[in-house]
């Protein structure tokens, strides 16, 4: 079974600086999707960025980018020019092609604090 691990329960960053959130996963599959979701204090979770494993190029969405290391099974999220609105809990998630269900397996989450 696949697992996702976020080893940093809490992180903090100064406004305008860069922060990296870590995520590792365990799988025997060769193709899959990885995601980062953001859950602001209002609680509605939203998609930040996604990466398909067979694509070697790291995904980027504005100030958010990932460092996908397939061999190391690592999928970190870099937030550049951090803003107060980036304060949230961030979840890393894995989607398997097995069974074709579309369901996600989540990590434990990392709470990001942004200091003014």
């Amino acid at each position: 079974a696949q697992t996702v691990t976020q080893s940093q329960p809490e992180m903090s960053v100064q406004e305008a600086e860069t922060v990296t959130l870590s995520c590792t996963y365990d799988t025997s599959e060769s193709d899959y999707y990885l995601f980062w979701y953001k859950q602001p204090p209002s609680r509605q979770m939203i998609l930040v960025i996604r990466q398909e494993a067979y694509k070697q190029q790291n995904a980027t969405e504005n100030r958010f980018s990932v460092n996908f290391q397939k061999a190391a099974k690592s999928f970190s999220l870099k937030i550049s020019d951090s803003q107060l609105g980036d304060a949230a809990m961030y979840f890393c998630a894995y989607a398997s092609f097995s069974g074709n269900t579309g369901k996600l397996i989540f990590g434990q989450g990392t709470t990001l604090q942004v200091k003014p």
């Binding site: 329960p9 609680r43 979770m45 269900t101 369901k103 996600l104 434990q108």
Partner: protein, 114 residues
């Protein structure tokens, strides 16, 4: 924009009560999910459904059941609530079973069982 609406944001129920958590999505999505969120554990899948009247167990289905009589509505049922079911419950939906689809979440339902 996709909207996933969970009708109850905060509930307090007594041990042994039957509890219904309702979820409605407005984008004709095929897939719907119920997750449970606990500190330090992240989100864990309880049940999901990819069609009307279809359901599949997730990772922690014990003590829960679900109902999907209409495509837009997915209900989570706690047959006899227990204190260890005190948690945040998140409903979600996605367009289809295609892997990689964006999953859209509701705002969550905080359930306290006393």
């Amino acid at each position: 924009d996709v909207k996933v609406t969970q009708s109850s944001r905060y509930l307090v129920k007594r041990t042994g009560e039957k509890v219904f958590l309702e979820c409605v999505q407005d984008m004709d999505h095929e897939n719907m999910f119920w997750y449970r969120q606990d500190p330090g554990l992240g989100l864990r899948l309880i049940y999901f459904s990819y069609d009307v009247k279809m359901k599949e167990k997730g990772d922690i289905p014990e003590g829960y059941s679900v109902s999907r009589e209409k495509k837009e509505r997915f209900s989570l049922i706690l047959e006899s609530a227990s204190t260890n079911q005190t948690s945040m419950y998140l409903c979600a939906s996605s367009l289809s079973r295609r892997v990689g689809n964006t999953i859209y979440f509701g705002e969550g339902s905080w359930l306290t069982v006393v």
